[in-house]
């Protein structure tokens, strides 16, 4: 255990402990297993926040450690959601169709069930056949494989093209942004097979789990999200703590020098970019069953920019920074835009938080960038250094 990741990276045990503590608290406050102080919808919000933290962690891997500012990471996140969404929608619709057809005097054939399911899912975009991309949607196992495989493959192809021709810095950011814009425009079309701007809906109804109820499901998904985040954190920490991490940091700080030292820079970049995309896919696959609906708007470029901003606010190049940034900003956003925050009455003008929150958020980005380039996590360093000179 001397060389264990728990020892090498001091943040890992602390992070796992905090995460476990949060998970315990949520469980004891949840409606299904505890006092019920948290509503079902808020439990889901917390679970979704953990998924966003996982995506931010993946973002920190490529940006904070390797210097690749990807403005298209939500494309991978959304693709993960779409992959699991296809299975959720197919399985659930098929169950409903089977229940309906069971009442007919002659039992239905498999082809009839499949046809009726397709009609039910795609009639909203005027189609009635299964598009090719739904080929594996009837198998949970294959769909789970796709959750990792499809975002990974997209990242692999895109990264190979981009890194090979040495597109770096700002240009790469703009290209990744173009990638996610192209993907969302593609998905917005009704005839591309993923129901256009209707997206996939009803994802919160887990097939075969109707009897369990949303009260318990919401906690289960929270646990699953926490588990994924914990494993993701350990994996990422392990990755960046060894030689691989040193080379990544080297590429971030001076790519040319690392190349001249004989390291295949493209391969390192490609590996970390693809891994990060896969983690994002998993995060998305856990996020959207809790959100209940996914549509192409989720993949719009602005979402990916927000992801980058969370990481910047939390503090780059330290995994816990990304998690803190994502959790703090997204929870604050939820709080202020949900109407729970009390309005401030100045007498002559009443400040409505729903209206003014985006302004504050935007100015907050500017202030953090100008005055706290290391982000919120940088404040820890400050405190630690003061205590331990």
């Amino acid at each position: 255990m001397g060389n264990s990741i728990f020892v090498r990276n001091r943040s890992v045990p602390i992070f796992i402990a905090v995460l476990a503590l949060v998970a315990l608290c949520v469980t004891f406050l949840s409606p299904a297993y505890g006092t019920g102080a948290l509503s079902v919808s808020f439990t889901k919000v917390l679970g979704m926040t953990l998924c966003l933290c996982l995506a931010a962690l993946a973002m920190d891997l490529v940006w904070g450690y390797c210097g690749i500012l990807s403005l298209g990471h939500f494309a991978f996140f959304g693709l993960g959601g779409y992959m699991i969404g296809m299975w959720l929608m197919t399985a659930r619709t098929e169950a409903v169709i089977r229940a309906n057809l069971a009442e007919s005097p002659i039992p239905p054939t498999e082809a009839e069930v499949s046809q009726a399911t397709a009609l039910q899912i795609f009639s909203v975009v005027g189609a009635e056949d299964w598009p090719w991309m739904w080929a594996v949607s009837d198998s949970l196992v294959l769909s789970l494989v796709m959750v990792v495989l499809v975002p990974g493959l997209l990242a692999l192809v895109f990264g190979w093209l981009a890194f090979r021709s040495r597109v770096t810095g700002v240009y790469l950011s703009i290209l990744t942004q173009a990638m996610t814009l192209a993907l969302s425009l593609y998905l917005f079309q009704n005839d591309t097979g993923l129901r256009g701007n209707n997206g996939l809906s009803g994802l919160q109804n887990i097939p075969g789990a109707e009897a369990i109820g949303q009260e318990r499901l919401s906690v289960w998904f929270f646990w699953a999200s926490a588990l994924a985040l914990g494993l993701g954190y350990i994996g990422a920490a392990w990755l960046v703590s060894g030689k691989f991490g040193n080379i990544l940091r080297g590429i971030r700080d001076d790519e040319l020098r690392v190349r001249f030292l004989g390291y295949p820079v493209e391969v390192y970049k490609l590996v970390v970019f693809t891994l990060s995309a896969m983690i994002c896919g998993v995060a998305g696959a856990l996020y959207y069953p809790q959100a209940g609906i996914i549509n192409p708007d989720e993949i719009a470029p602005i979402a990916s920019i927000y992801l980058a901003v969370w990481v910047a606010i939390g503090g780059r190049g330290r995994l816990y920074g990304a998690v803190i940034g994502a959790a703090v900003v997204s929870l604050l956003s939820t709080y202020f835009t949900s109407g729970r925050a009390p309005d401030v009455d100045l007498g002559f003008y009443e400040i409505s938080w729903i209206d003014w929150w985006p302004v504050l958020l935007g100015l907050g980005f500017v202030l953090v960038t100008l005055f706290a380039p290391r982000g919120l996590a940088g404040l820890f360093d400050y405190v630690v250094r003061r205590q331990d000179p």
Binding site: T109, R166, G169, Q177, A178, A182, I302, L370
Partner: protein
């Protein structure tokens, strides 16, 4: 050429047609009322046979009141006073008493009860003759607009008698627009009313090369076909083509369906028919001896159905071989509704020629669309070409400067109602407002981040969402109108195929102007020299006595100000909403990157390429602009792989890094 051909063909037609009405007798031009009183019988008791006489008299009189009189008469709003037989108009037919109006002077003659006057109600036949005469009258009018109106009514409701009228007009007409109309309508009349092939073919050929919509609308119905089937091709029929069942034009299913409708073959039994027959024949939980629970495969259902057929409980289904045999026993063909082969052949050839020309003009139209889209992209990106391209600052709030420019235009327009004046104020004002905003942003934020380009991106993104929200709070989230002045509202039309809206022409001119002015500023002025010096090497420039801070501030302000003017232009045709900037930001960055960073010429090339490409893809799949955008972005991503520095890449030391 066309004119002589037309004259010739009309001559042929007139020789063949029945002689037209007898020449009208000459009458001295007199008062309209007198004229009518002389022929009071003909007016009051007009019949289809006799009405032409009085109409001829009226036309010959050349009196100016005649058109209105005829219109009133035709609309059954002419009255005759019972006491003295005077013809009068009435102010309001429903009023009581009626107010009588003189037909010549328009003066009020007094009132009368409804029993004191007789309303003249010409029947439908008489109305038709009157209408034809009115057309004649209008065609003789001095006002081109009235002659055009007469042509409209001929085109919508053609009659044989119009032919001679139009022929007469063709000889005298000098207005080119009217001539063009006549040259289309005249052949259409010949085609519609002639019985002989020769004049009709000549008429068709006279339309050759005429790309107007009405020429195509005249020719297309001649080529209409009907799908028929027979045991053998009928002799002498004008057949367009024979169709093979199972080809693209006629599927086997449709062909067999026709056979069934003609009663020549038994209907097919579909899967749902089988299912309903099986459902109707469930006996004790089995169908045809097979348990219901086992009927969940097609194969089991077929067996059960066969058992039902054997027991005579269901009609036999024709096999695939039966279907093929039935289809083989007949021929399917399309027959022209027009019987004359000479006419359809001529129509086909003429139409093919026209389609080729239309295709050329379509291409021209598409190219204009492409250029117009390219100018919009250029306009949106040109400010960015300076701030990002020349200075290297990634300004995510660039789209918001465009938005602020558009809102400046909106505010000015709501204060100054005259659109032309408001536009003249809005353009410089938008520049000033966004210039100030840009300078403020540079001084407060961007100046501190020159060495951290990726963080500029985040900070300016923050500014972008804050600006959007502030504008939303002030102006609301709804679309605000920014109306172009009247002289920009229409469109420039070359012919029925090629047209482009005037706003787009203006945007093209504006884009060209921007390009020239910016190129001059950057390459021919002291400021441009200093800008280029500072971007290449700030420290060296500073040691030469240039103040880099001031230059950076001015350059950033210039780029932002240009975005503001672009915003006014874009607002004229796009929706002015708080988040309109986001629609342009990604495209603008791509335009600059594709074109090549560091010079505005590259931006021009990039915008042309992206705009032209997007239109070209749209042309391949015209219903789907989303797909065009998607493929265009994919192309850009691939393009960057091969030219990472853009089309026009700076070389040598200027390329920097």
């Amino acid at each position: 050429m066309t004119r002589t051909a037309l004259a010739a063909l009309v001559g042929v037609f007139l020789a063949l047609a029945a002689p037209l009405q007898a020449p009208a007798q000459s009458q001295p031009a007199a008062d309209l009322q007198t004229l009518l009183q002389d022929n009071a019988e003909l007016v009051a008791d007009a019949s289809r046979r006799t009405v032409q006489d009085i109409l001829d008299i009226l036309v010959d009189s050349q009196l100016p009141e005649v058109p209105q009189f005829l219109a009133t008469w035709q609309d059954r709003e002419l009255y005759q006073r019972n006491s003295d037989g005077l013809f009068v108009y009435v102010e309001d037919g429903d009023a009581d008493p009626l107010t009588l109006i003189d037909i010549s002077t328009g003066e009020v003659l007094g009132t009368a009860g409804s029993r004191d006057v007789t309303q003249l109600r010409p029947n439908r036949g008489v109305q038709g003759v009157i209408a034809a005469t009115r057309v004649q009258f209008q065609l003789a009018s001095d006002d081109p607009a009235r002659r055009m109106a007469a042509l409209d009514s001929i085109e919508s409701d053609p009659e044989e008698s119009h032919l001679a009228l139009l022929q007469g007009l063709l000889d005298t007409e000098t207005d080119p627009d009217l001539r063009a109309r006549i040259e289309v309508i005249l052949p259409a009349l010949v085609i519609a009313f002639s019985d002989e092939d020769a004049p009709r073919v000549a008429a068709i050929e006279s339309l050759s090369g005429n790309i107007s919509l009405s020429a195509r609308a005249t020719l297309n119905p001649l080529l209409a076909t009907r799908l028929e089937l027979a045991e053998a091709l009928p002799d002498g029929a004008n057949i367009a083509r024979e169709l093979e069942p199972g080809s693209d034009a006629l599927s086997r299913e449709d062909a067999y369906e026709m056979l069934v409708e003609e009663g020549l073959a038994p209907p097919r039994v579909s899967r749902s028919d089988i299912l309903s027959v099986l459902t109707a024949n469930i006996v004790d939980g089995t169908v045809g001896g097979i348990p219901v629970a086992e009927l969940n495969t097609e194969e089991a259902r077929d067996r059960a159905y066969a058992a039902l057929v054997a027991a005579d409980l269901a009609p036999p289904a024709p096999s695939e071989a039966d279907v093929t045999a039935s289809l083989g026993s007949v021929v399917f063909f399309e027959r022209y509704l027009e019987d004359s082969a000479a006419v359809t052949t001529a129509a086909r050839e003429t139409l093919d020629g026209i389609e080729t020309r239309v295709g050329f003009y379509r291409f021209l139209d598409l190219s204009l669309d492409g250029i117009s889209l390219a100018s919009i992209y250029f306009l949106a990106a040109i400010g960015l070409a300076i701030t990002f391209g020349v200075m290297g600052v990634i300004n995510m709030a660039h789209g918001e400067f465009i938005m602020i420019g558009a809102y400046t235009g909106f505010v000015v327009q709501s204060l100054v109602p005259n659109e032309t004046a408001s536009l003249a104020i809005a353009i410089p004002l938008a520049f000033v407002v966004t210039f100030m905003a840009g300078v403020a942003m540079e001084r407060l934020v961007i100046r501190w981040l020159y060495h951290r380009p990726l963080e500029t991106l985040l900070a300016t993104f923050g500014i972008s969402i804050a600006l959007q929200q502030i504008v939303r709070l002030v102006f609301g989230a709804l679309t605000q109108p920014l109306t172009p002045p009247d002289w920009l509202a229409g469109s420039v039309t070359l012919n029925d195929v090629v047209s482009i809206s005037s706003v787009r022409v203006a945007i093209f001119i504006l884009a060209a102007l921007f390009f020239v002015v910016l190129w001059l500023i950057l390459n021919r002025t002291r400021l441009g020299l200093e800008v280029r010096a500072v971007t290449q090497n700030p420290a060296m420039a500073a040691s030469m006595g240039i103040n880099p801070d001031r230059i950076n501030m001015l350059t950033f302000g210039l780029g932002s100000g240009i975005a503001g003017i672009a915003g006014v232009a874009i607002g004229l045709f796009a929706q002015v909403v708080p988040d309109m900037g986001t629609n342009y930001i990604v495209q603008s960055f791509m335009t600059v990157v594709v074109g090549g960073v560091g010079n505005i010429f590259g931006t021009l090339v990039g915008a042309s390429m992206i705009g032209g490409l997007q239109k070209a893809i749209e042309w391949l799949n015209p219903t789907n602009t989303l797909a065009a955008q998607t493929y265009m972005i994919l192309f850009v991503i691939l393009f960057i792989q091969f030219r990472p520095r853009g089309i026009i890449a700076l070389r040598g030391r200027a390329a920097g890094d």
